[in-house]
Chain length 374, copies 2
């Protein structure tokens, strides 16, 4: 192999690819990145056998070939050198990298030992915009279960309904759903569960991606096609719970509140709620006789027998009944960090029923929190 | 106690004071911050019995008193609320904190149980500027021993010689010394060893401090007086090694090189030097026949039997003999991160002798690195 490429492009490809590599890989060869020539371009590949990436960059190819190179060393080396263009050549598994100021020889591994990135039969494909997918990932993925006790809940649910893709996550205590418009679709109505790790990598790649993403799937795998970057992942096997039944049909009170202000008071209340498993009280009342003017007061209360208590009050626009309900402060803070809008709408359905939070005026997103018992 | 103060001032005082508290304190009372009125001001105090702080802020005092308050809760609470002024009052060890939006009751502890911050007999005092002391701490403290196997080397050596304060640190593999001008002194020639932790706290407080610092000491303790902040620390007992003997008297080669460029090439070389305990080769040669023009080439080489090697070359101004010597890359990277000047001077005294690094043209600072054997 003998090629010339731009350091900055190779650097980006290596940073995205090296993240795919597992810190505890099952086979030593998987600690490597595969660098190979592919029809006039340079292809950078990595896999942990569940998730794989192919990343193509432009290059001047003098001689075709391929080599596996230790991921950590090549990634750190390329990110630390200051060069415009670099030459890469392989001689007897030694990888020679030459720039103007920096020269290195890195011991490579025979490319034949590298497992192939799993391929997908591209039977079904649909397309969404990068921006919509990014927004959905940011506002949904954090709600998936962090541990693996119920593997299905540790994934993100994709549900295609005609030209709408619903992206859903829940850990059974809270649930987030965003609807994304499908701009092109071959087949209607299908659903599958994508590992959260895959979705987080998609989110990172989207920052560098073009306007649209093609998503292909078969029974076992999903391919996110960003053009010159392909991410292939296994799907999680199983039946996603029928989550729609937990979304309350009716609400007793609705509040509109400044997101940052609500974040601050919930943060303060949570300091006092450590011994009560982060449970804070949310109380909506009205200024005396001002129910019809919608002049409400939102009080957030954190209490701990050993430490004391905090009470913070925010004047809000509110309509409906007065209400008091307890939630896990973390679940409120999480969603407020993810919502981009300045104001949020909170809907309450009673002291023992779920609450709903979303950006003001936003109808394609919802976040449900289950109440805590006092 | 009943007082009113500015949230921002109290916040700063709590942030600096809470850092003094040990994560593993020997007495539960030491997890608290002592808040007390003191001659028309509010005094915030904390100690771990080795290092103590008294931090005074302005306040409107309605009723004198004092109370110990759990450090983590009060610090996080005050830093998270958005208020202008806050009222603090104490009722039966309950601390009531009231702002416009935020109200809290925190359970306090009787102030009588709080140990007094160790006092110092202010027999000897000298004064330095905050800027000089800050520079010295930044360029010296990192060279102290990180572990406690030789307690003396885990401290910073202060040596007063008439109107010069030498600040020195060494872990026996490298040594840093900076000379600071004393602007006012009562007694000449004295030395003592200050714990590195104390010096690091001094460095953090200096960012918020005025123009000068008064330093007082007795046999066992040192007081850094920043005006409205006092930091009192024990000294480390023992005899500091006679470090001046390791500073080479003569050099065989001198190089002037761009600091950032040298940092980059040493960083790259260190990637290849992991299996050789970070040992990198530094080589100075001349362009053929250009010795008299001082046209040198500085080569930095990292090698690992298992991984390969990197060679980076920088054209430099150099005079003296050609030379090759091995150093620990970390020790070079550390000092380059600390030096503020754009260019550095490196002086070599041979393959088996120490090297010296300092900012170009700087005569009150030096950094010595011992060579490694190949």
């Amino acid at each position: 192999m003998k090629v010339t490429c731009v350091q900055e492009n190779l650097n980006k490809a290596l940073i995205h690819s090296s993240r795919i590599i597992s810190v505890r890989s099952s086979l030593p060869i998987l600690d490597n990145i595969l660098v190979s020539t592919d029809q006039g371009r340079l292809k950078i590949s990595a896999t942990d056998l569940e998730l794989g990436i192919n990343y193509w960059i432009g290059a001047k190819i003098e001689k075709d070939g391929s080599i596996a190179i230790p991921s950590r060393l090549i990634t750190e080396f390329i990110s630390n050198i200051k060069e415009d263009k670099i030459n890469i050549s392989v001689d007897n598994n030694n990888v020679l990298i030459e720039g103007e100021k920096y020269n290195a020889t890195i011991k490579g591994v025979n490319a034949e030992d590298f497992p192939s990135i799993p391929d997908i039969s591209e039977e079904y494909t649909f397309t969404v915009t990068s921006r919509d997918l990014m927004n959905a990932i940011n506002q949904v993925a954090f709600a998936a279960a962090a541990d693996n006790t119920r593997p299905i809940l540790s994934g993100i649910f994709f549900k295609i309904e005609k030209d709408i893709l619903k992206i859903v996550a829940t850990d059974s205590y809270r649930l987030a759903e965003e609807k994304v418009k499908i701009t092109k679709n071959e087949k209607t109505n299908k659903s599958f569960i994508v590992p959260t790790r895959t979705i987080n990598e998609v989110g990172k790649i989207l920052k560098d991606a073009g306007e649209k993403v093609d998503i292909s799937y078969d029974e076992n795998q999903i391919l996110f096609n960003f053009g010159s970057i392909h991410l292939v992942s296994r799907l999680i096997d199983g039946q996603y719970p029928n989550y729609e039944q937990i979304i309350p049909a009716e609400f007793e009170n609705e509040v509109i509140v400044d997101k940052q202000e609500l974040f601050n008071v919930c943060k303060v209340a949570s300091l006092f709620a450590r011994e009560s498993a982060n449970s804070i009280k949310v109380n909506v009342s009205f200024e005396k006789g001002k129910e019809k003017d919608e002049k409400g007061i939102l009080s957030i209360i954190g209490q701990g027998v050993q430490v004391g208590e905090s009470v913070s009050k925010i004047p809000v626009k509110s309509k409906g009944k007065e209400i008091e309900v307890s939630f896990n402060a973390k679940y409120i803070l999480d969603v407020l960090s993810a919502i981009p809008e300045k104001n949020v709408e909170i809907k309450f359905s009673g002291a023992n029923s779920a609450g709903l939070i979303k950006g003001e005026g936003k109808n394609d997103y919802l976040y449900i929190i289950m109440p805590l018992r006092n």
